[in-house]
Subunit: 193 residues, 2 copies
Amino acid sequence: MDMTDTLLEARPRKRDATATRARILAAAMDRFARLGYETASLREIAAEAGVDVALIGRYFGGKEGLFTEALKASIHPSRLTELDRETYVREVAEAMANGPRDGHADQHGFQFLLRAATSPATAPLLNLAVQERFLGPIRDWLGGDDAEPRARVLAGVIIGFLVERLIRGKALRGRERDVFIERATTILSALVS
Amino acid sequence: MDMTDTLLEARPRKRDATATRARILAAAMDRFARLGYETASLREIAAEAGVDVALIGRYFGGKEGLFTEALKASIHPSRLTELDRETYVREVAEAMANGPRDGHADQHGFQFLLRAATSPATAPLLNLAVQERFLGPIRDWLGGDDAEPRARVLAGVIIGFLVERLIRGKALRGRERDVFIERATTILSALVS
DNA sequence: CCGATAAGTCAACAGCCATTGACATACCGG
DNA sequence: CCGGTATGTCAATGGCTGTTGACTTATCGG
């Protein structure tokens, strides 16, 4: 991304607090989402950001502070709920047919959420964020009677597909992909109506 | 469980390889399911088993060996697939409406699976076990054309319901329960036909 | 009953981790 | 241009981790 890094490694970057803070946060969002809270190390994150470890302590207080901030930044109120239901369903179904590594930033947020949910150190931090930025929007988006339990079921199924994809590891192809998408779409359509 | 431990802590246990091996495995299944691969430490597991850490190395080769064995022991082939489809669907739907503590040992095994899936160190180990003991049986049980992708979707949905129940924490009641079961039944019926 | 061997114990190792405090230096307002 | 302060650097610390090897001791067959 930044030519300064790759080409002129030697020359130090210009000093800019907000910029390096952003660098750190970006690196953290990436590593935390892919590796989980415990496996991602501050040293790696700092290295990826091209920054000294100590600065993380300065700007975010510590690992937990960095994580909570990265969490909030990752689960922005879902862009998806701006879509109409049909395209939403289709997008999700296709995303789930892909491999865990490819895809848009949405997946990124979902993975982050999932990883956070299954780590004992971060689970306590999560409940609030999920309610506010995930379950809430879905519920409002669904609307109508019984929005609450319906949102729960939908959220659960989405997470289920997410886990399935995580286990599967690779993208689906050809006929398998088609059948998967078709059936998943059917399910999701039923859930949002 | 074993009175010898609590009452007569001082007196060493009688030497019995297979018994201590089992103790270690049981403790490992518990800690790994609750804490995940990285957070659970061999020292804690050994302590819970009332055993020296070094024995884990002797009996299981190392942490990874212990984990794979605990994984296999946790995911037993699903009993559910012995049922005909109609009762299967109803049973699953009702089980998912209950709280996470009400059910059988399913939950424990599932937590194990979820934790394993979301840890990068163990995800590779998981694919095989899941194929063998979860996806495989479901696929065979479904049969017919496109059994593979259909099994994947079904597995995704089931996992999703499990996650939802896990997050929800408590059993559903009254109208919410009815709505949930009705919708879940519809979805599952569509998936198995 | 004795001794070989399995079972359990202990301590040390090297590696990684997050965190912290003291230090150096670039920057920018006066 | 100068000096104070925000920014970045460095090194050390203490703690925890999984693993290993040498050690002791119980057990049980001959």
